[in-house]
Amino acid sequence: MDRLLSRPGGFTEDEYEPGAIPISNIENFRVLVIGAGGLGCEILKNLALSGFRKIDVIDMDTIDVSNLNRQFLFREKDVGKPKATVAAEFVSRRVPSCKINAYVGKIQDKDEDYYMQFNIIICGLDSIEARRWINATLVGMIDMGNPDSLKPLIDGGTEGFKGQSRVILPTMTSCIECQLDMHAPRAAVPLCTLATIPRQPQHCIEWAHIIKWEEDRKDIPLDTDDPEHITWLYQKALLRAQEFGIQGVTYSLTQGVVKNIIPAIASTNAIIAASCCNEAFKLATSSAPFLGAPGTNNYMQYTGDSGVYTYTFEHEQNPACPVCGNLPRDLTINPDTTLQELVDSFAERPESQLKKPNMRTEEKTLYYSAPESLRMQTEGNLKRKLSELLADGEEMAVSDPAFAIDFRYKVRFS
């Protein structure tokens, strides 16, 4: 690697000076890795063997036996221990010159001062909520007078033989929120199907999960990692399936539906994590052009189930992005809709996905789900029609306590 950094390349900029500068750049670069799971383990290894010396890792999870088929820094004896600590210790032991700090906890525990210390942030997460949070936080940290406030965000994700990696320069290029509709949740099965006309094994499992548990065991919080809880759901689902003549309820399917399991393998994690780290390496050393400069490609999609296919392209910034854009989005809606119906719809709208939306206009507060006092004050509005609360063309802000984002909508009555 030092040899490569000491020589000019076929695609480096003319001003690139090989040698000591890129090598010392990389040694002093501070990297934050979010997630020490399938991608995180690979990312830590890759960074350590690419010359990065100052790494922090943050993860709130503990090690489960089903992690061992891909999270290669963990062994059977580590099951139950925190991922971040075990991963950091393992890599520091194998690559003694690399120092890795572990933090066991949530990214939301940390404030802007914490994130400000790093030069770059690499995410290997399976949750869209966490991605949205860190994305909004990094965009919010931008201070035009301080170039150091720009923290490039590299994000990877996988599912089965597929995955994607992307580079985000907050406010300068497309962010996670710009195309949130790409991560649209699967349409939920209507409750009435679960309650009265199940047809699929999944319907029986969701019935046990959402309805039966509440009926029989509402005082026990459901823990999807507890085999006794899964067994209980499985047995209830199986009985219901037998009653309706439905085949295919298994323990494995029960677990898959209840925990929303996404298939994951070592090889895909390796591809995506290495792609993320390759971009970090190029960014830190200027040894070759990186993905993500404004106006260039910033996103690679990888598909490995039929041959190998990558699609590398420029994801464009969305001017109506609630995080990094500044335009309100049009919301075309029937004026006879009630506020309650509108509130419910925000959970499913692919571009918002807000479960507890709070809504206000410049003039007044429409509805707040929390705190309790405000909720009581505003819940009367829920029954009212939108035509009584809003004017055609009026702007409305929608937020959710889970994210530091205001969605701006311009209401258009249909």
Partner: protein, 570 residues
């Protein structure tokens, strides 16, 4: 509602075993059969050069539980190795790299057996039947092309899938040699691509059920109407359409759209089952003919010229071809997508499809048994009924890869592209194609074949890679570019054409820049590219071993500067 008096199944029935828990996330992809194939595999890695990509590939195969692996590597661990290979530790210094990497890889999974061979490659390869114990071979560059040719011949004779791998700086490539007929049944198509409802060719049981569900459609209660399965709605409105159109079904896009908007939609403006029916019109109203790829596979020589020892795939393909000729449709897969309906109606509908699928599969099985007799197949080679059912279910999505031998440079001889020359030339003219990188790697191999070094240098065995010392950097760059430019010209000549300016000069410039990048790395691997390439190769190994999903045909290149992959058929 389930009454609580009903007996619960015994606790912990079906609860996964320890092994199923460990492999849960992958079993959801390739299932128990795929896992068994993986566990029956013994792979050998012939690891040359820095050897990081090979070891990273093994990491991704040891974790999911490959049966056994062997690393052949006679080199000794150096300081440089420690900086780039994760499966070495400071105490490995000075020891055999094969021993050390095998030891640390085996820590990843106690179920997997690893073996190290430290014998030099030349003497290893000179032994008879040396590859007989192995089911898959990985070879990394740099390697003397004469030795690679011998490995290839062994592999071809024993039909062992073989991968040849390059990883240099920001670039990598791998080529796969698999047998000339490599059929796949379980291709795992997208779930949305597999619906096959046969609404244009309903069989009596299905039509009867639809008639029964739609009798009195105009007068039935709203509740009843809103629970008619959409398949029945489509069948009902098709009857109405046919009555108005001389018995013909909608064929063109325009007719289908009219059918949707003027017939189905008119039935109800907003019921969910009518929405589903409308959404299904365009994809469901297609005659159930097989696509051209599938038809070509079913009538390929292996399927028509059967022998007593033909692989089961080809006997079944022959039988399905006969089925297709008789009925002008493939056997019914039998799955029914979810649709709004009363539970009991949906189950009835499912059973109607399942019964027809069983009937079709039984007909194919009868033909298979006849073929077994007529071809004089030994009873111990009798084909499993399950295999026939499986094939029938996936018949519309089968795939065939025609494996080809690895392309290996022979110093002093022109590289030949043969029947691929014209296609390769088109690749050369396509700016998106990474064929220029492929040619640069061929040139790199030729450089290796024609330059020797003292045995102590990187790579050992007297092999010298371009850019290995700072002193010869410029000279090596010129030589490598010279070889690559000659390959470009040879390809143009073999294709019997020419490329005009300015394209010709642009191609030469791009090739030269790639060669400069390759020389810059001096044969060194970047860990990220090694890891990424090891991930891609492991995916391909899994696909080849499990015969599920579709493997690369036959060469994959990765450009870490632009971050993109490209597949070439060489």
């Amino acid at each position: 509602m389930a009454s609580d008096q009903t007996e619960l199944p015994p606790p912990f029935q079906d609860v996964p075993t320890a092994k199923e828990r460990r492999y849960d996330r992958q079993l959801r992809l390739w299932g128990a059969a795929g896992q068994m194939a993986l566990e029956d595999t013994h792979l050998i890695l012939i690891n040359n050069g820095p050897g990081v990509t090979g070891v990273e590939t093994l990491k991704n195969l040891v974790l999911p539980g490959i049966g056994q692996f062997t690393i052949l590597d006679s080199s000794i661990v150096s300081e440089a190795d420690l900086g780039v290979n994760f499966f070495l530790e400071p105490s490995s210094l000075g020891k055999f790299r094969a021993d050390e990497t095998v030891k640390l890889l085996m820590e990843l999974n106690p179920e997997v057996k690893g073996h190290a061979i430290k014998e030099p490659l030349e003497s290893f390869i000179s032994q008879d039947k040396i590859f007989a114990p192995y089911t898959l071979i990985l070879v990394t560059a740099p390697i003397d092309p004469a030795i690679l040719s011998r490995i290839q011949l062994h592999a071809e004779a024993l039909q062992i899938p073989t991968f040849y791998i390059h990883s240099v700086g920001f670039y990598s490539s791998f080529s796969i040699q698999i047998p000339p007929a490599f059929p796949i049944v379980e291709t795992h198509p997208e779930p949305t691509a597999t619906d096959d409802l046969r609404v244009l060719k309903p069989w009596p049981a299905l039509q009867d059920f639809a008639n029964q569900k739609t009798t009195g459609l105009e007068t039935m209660s709203a509740h009843e109407k809103s629970h008619i399965p959409y398949v029945c709605l489509l069948l009902y409105y098709l009857e109405v359409w046919r009555a108005n159109h001389d018995g013909k079904a909608p064929e063109t896009y325009k007719e289908k759209a009219e059918f949707r908007d003027q017939y189905v939609r008119k039935g109800s403006p907003d019921e969910e089952n009518f929405d589903e029916a409308c959404a299904a019109v365009l994809k469901s109203l297609n005659p159930p003919t097989a696509n051209s790829t599938v038809r070509a596979i079913l009538s390929s020589p292996e399927a028509t010229e059967l022998t007593p020892t033909s692989p089961p795939f080809w006997l079944i393909a022959n039988a399905i071809h006969k089925f297709y000729t008789t009925h002008n449709q493939l056997p019914l897969p039998g799955a029914v997508p979810d649709m709004k309906a009363q539970s009991a109606d949906y189950i009835k509908l499912q059973n109607i499809y399942k019964a027809k699928a069983r009937q079709d599969s039984a007909e194919v099985l009868t033909t298979v048994r006849e073929l077994e007799r007529s071809t004089g197949r030994a009873p111990k080679l009798a084909i499993d009924e399950k295999e026939v059912e499986n094939f029938c279910r996936g018949a519309a999505h089968i795939h065939l890869v025609r494996g080809r031998p690895l392309q290996i440079v022979r110093p002093g001889e022109k590289v030949k592209f043969g029947d691929r020359a014209e296609d390769m030339l088109r690749e050369l003219e396509n700016p998106e194609s990474l064929v220029k990188l492929y040619l640069a790697f061929l040139a790199w191999d030729e450089f290796v074949a024609t330059h020797a070094s003292s045995p102590e240098q990187a790579g050992g065995e007297g092999i010298r890679v371009p850019g290995d010392t700072d002193l010869g950097l410029e000279a090596d760059g010129e030589k490598l570019t010279g070889i690559a430019h000659k390959l470009v010209d040879d390809l143009i000549t073999e294709a019997g054409t020419r490329i005009e300016e300015p394209e010709y000069s642009e191609i030469r410039e791009k090739v030269a820049a790639i060669c400069e990048e390759l020389v810059r790395a001096g044969g060194g691997e970047l860990h990220n590219l090694a890891s990424l390439t090891g991930g891609m190769i492991a995916q391909e190994v899994i696909k080849v071993i499990t015969r599920q999903y579709i493997p690369v045909d036959n060469t994959c290149l990765f450009d870490g500067v632009e971050s993109r992959a490209y597949v070439l058929r060489v």
